[in-house]
């Protein structure tokens, strides 16, 4: 392990030096960043125990214009998250210390930050468990760098609406511009992905969207992908927006086809 213990200075977080986090960071890449460099570089927190993979991820991410931070164990993942305040988290499911699923749940408990799981197993149960724990998307090792970058970009891309675009499903009010969802004036806390999913459905009232269409519009998959992504996230969304998730009125299943929004 010593060979991996002192990688390039970019691996600040995995060494605990916190170069990305401290307000008095020594270099230009520290946060809060000097306005001339890091403002436009999205921050990615890589939670992975494999040093070689983490380093390679760092190389690829930097080439693609991201600002990576690293943490190698599940125990320290939350600290690293607080310090790095990433725009996206890349989370390996198999971690020493704490299970990746637990980390995922903890992250989700306090933040809507996009989480992309890295998993060695496309085994059904594993992936579904990760999605249920709150991950937005997953990518199976080994992956092409371009695929990884596409997944991360898709999670960073946000729906933009007209300044005053107002949508309504059932008794839910959506203000697209300000990312605000309310029922009876009470705000609801949705993750960006859940928000995108709800808005995508709300924009085409009464029209059925297939899972493939949702995968393309919300997740940014150009080819058919895993429809379980849609299924699990619809369940998560329903748990938040439905009064009775057993009898949904906001996101309605059209058997064998897909989903549609309930009437406004």
């Amino acid at each position: 392990m010593m060979a991996y213990a002192a990688p390039s200075p970019h691996h600040g977080e995995s060494n605990g030096s916190g170069s990305n986090a401290g307000p008095h960071g020594p270099s230009g890449q520290a946060r809060p960043a000097p306005p001339e460099s890091a403002v436009t570089r999205p921050r990615v927190l890589v939670v992975d125990d494999d040093a070689a993979l983490a380093e390679m991820l760092g190389i690829v991410l930097r080439r693609e214009g991201f600002e990576p931070a690293f943490v190698a164990t599940g125990d320290r993942a939350m600290d690293a998250f607080h310090r790095a305040r990433p725009d996206v988290v890349l989370l390996d499911l198999m971690l020493p210390g704490r299970d990746g699923l637990d980390v995922c749940r903890d992250l989700r408990a306090e933040s809507g930050v996009p989480i992309v799981m890295l998993t060695a197993r496309a085994d059904t149960a594993d992936v579904v468990r990760g999605l249920e724990a709150g991950a937005d998307d997953y990518i199976v090792k080994p992956f092409k760098p371009t695929e990884l970058v596409a997944r991360i970009r898709a999670r960073l891309r946000h729906l933009t609406g007209g300044a005053a675009e107002q949508l309504r499903i059932d008794d839910i009010e959506i203000d697209v511009g300000s990312h605000d969802v309310r029922r009876d004036g009470e705000p609801m806390s949705l993750t960006p992905l859940e928000f995108d999913l709800l808005v995508t459905l709300a924009r085409t009232p009464r029209q059925v969207l297939t899972r493939e269409a949702l995968l393309a519009q919300v997740w940014g998959y150009r080819h058919a992908a895993d429809t379980r992504l849609v299924n699990v996230h619809v369940q998560r969304l329903r748990a938040k927006v439905e009064r009775d998730p057993e009898h949904p009125r906001v996101v309605i299943t059209v058997r064998g086809v897909g989903y549609r929004a309930g009437p406004p």
């Binding site: 390679m56 199976v140 080994p142 493939e212």
Partner: protein, 533 residues
Amino acid sequence: MVRTSRLRPTHWGPAHLVKGATRMWRRSLRLRVVALTLLLSSVVMALLGVFLLDRVGQGLLADKRQAALGDVSSGLVYARAQLASAVRSDPNAVDALVETIDTELGRRGSPSGLFDVAVLTTNRSSGFTTSPLDTADIPHALRLQVRGGAEAETYANVHRDDGLERALIIGAPVSADVGSYEVYYVFPLHTEEQTLGLVRRVLLLGGAALVGLLAAVVWLVSRQVVTPVRMAARIAERFAAGNLAERMAVHGDDEIARLAASFNDMAGALQRQIDQLEDLSRAQRRFTADVSHELRTPLATIRMAADVLYESRGDFPPAMSRSAEILTGQLERFERLLADLLEISRYDARAAVLEPDTVDLAGLVRNAAAEFTDGAARAGTRIDLDIRGDLTPAGSLLAEVDPRRVARILRNLLANAIDHAEGATIEVALVTSADTVAIRVLDHGVGLRAGDSERVFDRFWRADPSRSRATGGTGLGLSIAREDARLHGGELVAWGRPGEGASFRLLLPRRAGGILGTAPLPLSPDASLVRAT
């Protein structure tokens, strides 16, 4: 249109009863044992009763006859003496004497009603009888014998006030100077018959009671045997249903206890075997998962490194640049091979799980075809779709299948077809019936030799070793596709003729866990398409 309604069978018709009884007879050991016991003991009791009655009757009659013969011989002595003293000249006096003899003889028996006596004149057909005896009751055959000079006896029915009655009749000739006479003693047998009737009733009642008791005893005893046997059957059923912890209770040391102990031993051995197999399977699954993880992580790293090199290959000298290209290409191949190997080993470990979902098969097929459009074009061929069945207005065709596996089967079949199509069009047909889905991928390329239609599903099998795998197949695709089909409870079969092409037909039950119906689509293209409703 006339609607005919079929007659419904009456629920409790005689045929039904007979059937039910036969069924019970076949199914219940206890019923059979008790019924056989009843039958055999009844037969034995009946035989015994008949024998006893016969012996008792014979004994009674022998006693009666002995006493009767004594009465008769003493009566005859008296009658002979009286007649010897008679005077021949006076017929009236003789008649009076005969009457006296009759009365006297009758009196000997009359106090007890033991017998009646008739004294008849042989040649004049006249005589005297003690009341209530009627001469006509004496059988003719007996009279003939007596007239012939012999003492004779017979059993006959005689008339009494209350009808006919069985009687022993003994006749003897008495000759005297005054003439020939016949003396008949009639011994009614009603006392003996009464005794016999009583014995018969006692035997009947006793026999019936005994048989009933025997049946009850057998019923109870058979319970001792049948109850544990039934219990054993029940427990064996539960065991077979997967309840491996089921054991029989062992009481005492008898045969039933030994049965229970042996059953438990067997169950224990089976359970250990199954546990062992499960452990092995679990270990295999673990291993597969671990290998998967351990291999994939470094592979992901290598993959990214190779891609970084590949993208910068323009800056490298030619040899290094080409090396980067080869590295990337072979890595892709290696990844596919690893993925397929892991999938196969998951099947071998029986760790593959079906994840059925109601999906649009038409869409699945269209997507798969679209995915291969470019590849087909590069191979100089194209893919034609023919989708039939109960399509919804939106053009979807619903079925409950595992979409990832079906998509994978389609990808494997299409890749294989493109590899072997030789530029001819590939025809993909999707046809459904109410219970079965058929997808056929047909090419008109190199085809398959006889016997190869099975071997084509063997791992790493190649029809022609010199042929390259243009679409980069691993040699495991069709094996995995067949496993995927079987996991659905479906089938994947191949057909082919050299130079004419090959056809692969996938059949899946339309509902998860369903049974395959008739194939809505033939395997070979010779037969025309069967149009489904």
